[in-house]
């Protein structure tokens, strides 16, 4: 594919515009500083931002967060909203294969000093109790088809009713852990077969569980509202819809190839295949995507329950005594129908977030009451071995990015490059010397996931802060990591 060089102009310190050219319907906007932009330019990600701007019904601009990197059709770190009433489309590539890949954060009442000498035991317990790695299956037994249908429709609520966690957890989950549009009738047999025995499994790649401590607090009031304190232990779980979601994406990408012809949609990239939101194909995809999203929420709810039990058993104390409580759960690969102001009018638009996180600010009605004064917690995990952040959105987030912000670090190095760079090095030992214990099932995983393979998440969050569309609340530092 011939590379197109797009002119860019810098609008402000951390914002660049890709002006409308050719068949672009709107301009592109990329949040980045000079340093991050140098890498972004080298990667054809700018071209992808411009390509997304070709989508029918796209509103205002094609957006990219500072952790942007090249992806399938849409860049990862991309946000695009379309207006269904103007023939706006839904594009599975704007969600990603790992539908509702996301992260949840669990607070505890344990201080780091209390459990520092038990980190190894805790990591081992997580490693044993939550299946991870390639082809991981079998966490809670194979489901029957009827039960899987319930998972698809009820999401995290299914897990709660099965004894994994409580109703209170649902309030602290985006969408209460369930998108209502789900229709199992639109999910194919192959996806079902893959989904039956993967609930409660971590998967592989950049999925992980992590034991952290809170090492910096930037906003005392918000941190208090979220239940986070300095030196307190917290647990992160990062995973998605597993093979169930990948299969649904695959099935619908195929369907969308046909839809593009049927609706005469001209696209610069085959992988932006899409259909109008208000079309049979569009509706079917959204309802199947919702099934996958709900599956992922059920998955994270189950894994959280397994993690809490592992902690309680290892430390020989009850979950209540340990103060284990869900802070929040966010998705970063999803499409949602949300109300946003467009040209002064409030409209229902279809917001694609692929490697981007919803960041509703204070007073937004979708933020849980306990957090409404602070805003929705935005979980931004760093790469293995470095910090993660909890942030909140601002009013500017709603105005400028359809209530969206970055999702994490974003890769800068290919897996093969990372493996070469890691040759002869013991990544686990290097991390251990820095006080971080890692356990992984995959042979190559550690090398590929080495810290240098990713952008510096501190920089990414810094750009969002300087651009005014996210504010850090706390910083977390890792103590132990379980990787698939």
């Amino acid at each position: 594919m011939a590379e197109t060089t797009h002119e860019m102009r810098q609008i402000s310190e951390c914002l660049w515009e890709v002006p409308r050219t050719g068949a672009m319907r709107v301009p592109g906007r990329i949040y980045a500083d000079e340093k991050l932009m140098a890498h972004i330019r080298s990667e054809r990600a700018v071209e992808q931002v411009a390509n997304v701007a070709h989508l029918p019904g796209i509103v205002r601009c094609s957006l990219a967060m500072p952790d942007i990197h090249w992806g399938y059709g849409f860049p990862i770190g991309g946000v695009a909203a379309t207006d269904p009433q103007e023939g706006g489309v839904i594009s599975p590539g704007g969600v990603g294969y790992d539908i509702n890949c996301g992260v949840r954060l669990v607070a505890t009442s344990m201080a780091r000093a209390e459990v520092e000498d038990r980190i190894r035991d805790l990591v081992l317990a997580l490693f044993r109790d939550v299946p991870s790695g390639l082809g991981s299956h079998g966490a809670i037994g194979k489901l029957g088809k009827r039960e899987l249908e319930q998972v698809m429709v009820e999401g995290a609520g299914w897990a709660v009713r099965r004894g994994f966690g409580t109703e209170a957890d649902l309030e602290r989950t985006e969408e209460r852990g369930r998108l209502p549009l789900a229709d199992p009738g639109n999910v194919g047999q192959k996806a079902i077969q893959r989904g039956l025995d993967q609930v409660g499994t971590l998967g592989s790649g950049n999925h992980f569980m992590e034991i952290d401590s809170v090492d910096e607090v930037y906003d005392e009031e918000a941190a208090r509202a979220f239940g986070l304190e300095r030196q307190m232990i917290a647990i992160q779980i990062h995973s998605g819809s597993r093979g169930f979601g990948y299969q649904i994406c695959d099935d619908y990408l195929d369907l969308m190839q046909k839809a593009v012809t049927r609706y005469s949609i001209a696209l610069p990239d085959r992988q932006l295949a899409c259909a109008p939101v208000e079309s049979p194909e569009g509706e079917r995809y959204l309802s199947a995507m919702a099934c996958a999203a709900n599956y992922a929420w059920a998955n994270r709810q189950v894994m959280m329950a397994l993690a809490k039990r592992a902690f309680a058993r290892t430390l020989a104390r009850s979950e209540e005594e340990l103060g284990l409580a869900l802070v929040y759960d966010v998705c970063h690969n999803i499409a949602k129908l949300e109300r946003h102001a467009v040209d002064g009018l409030e409209k229902l638009v279809c917001v694609h977030r692929k490697g981007a996180t919803r960041a509703f600010p204070a007073e937004h009605p979708d933020v849980p009451p306990a957090y409404r004064a602070a805003g929705q917690p935005v979980l931004v995990p760093g790469d293995m071995g470095t910090h993660s952040f909890v942030c909140v959105g601002t009013d500017a987030t709603m105005r400028e990015t359809f209530g969206s912000t970055c999702h994490g670090a974003g890769r800068v190095m290919s897996r093969s490059k990372a493996k070469k760079a890691a040759k002869g090095r013991r990544i686990d030992e290097e991390l251990s010397r820095r006080g971080i214990l890692v356990m992984a099932t995959g042979k190559a995983t550690l090398a590929e996931e080495m810290p240098a393979a990713y952008k510096d998440v501190t920089e990414v969050v810094g750009v969002m802060e300087r651009a005014g569309i996210a504010r850090p609340v706390v910083r977390l530092t890792p103590l132990g990591v379980v990787k698939g």
Partner: protein
Amino acid sequence: MVERPSYKEIEHTADVGLELTAPDLASAFERAAAGMFDMISDLDGIESEWRREVRVAGRDDDLENLLIRWLSELIFLHESEHVLLSTFDVRRIDGNLLEAVVVGEGIDPKRHALKVEIKAATYHDLVIRETPSGWRVRVIFDT
């Protein structure tokens, strides 16, 4: 006896990919499959104990679509049957239809080092083209 997979791994920031050439269309599809599974887990360690006949229908003489459908079907078998595949014998192939026999064994975590989780085969920079030096293939996988 498993044929040593002949492909070149290509650089890609977020994902993995391969490139290869083959003397004919059938072997191009076979080598693409072998390369993909060699990226998942070394083909050397896979015994021949599990066998399946595979039939993939493409669309409108679209070879790119047929290649993606073929690789997708294999990823599906890998996950749903918990198997690793090492031998691929394409018996019939044209623009719309592929019939093959695939062989491998059940995943054994003790013997099989699992290297990369491949979520899907993508259309990005996809190449399946006849050239003077044979059939050329390039596939990027989402990982």
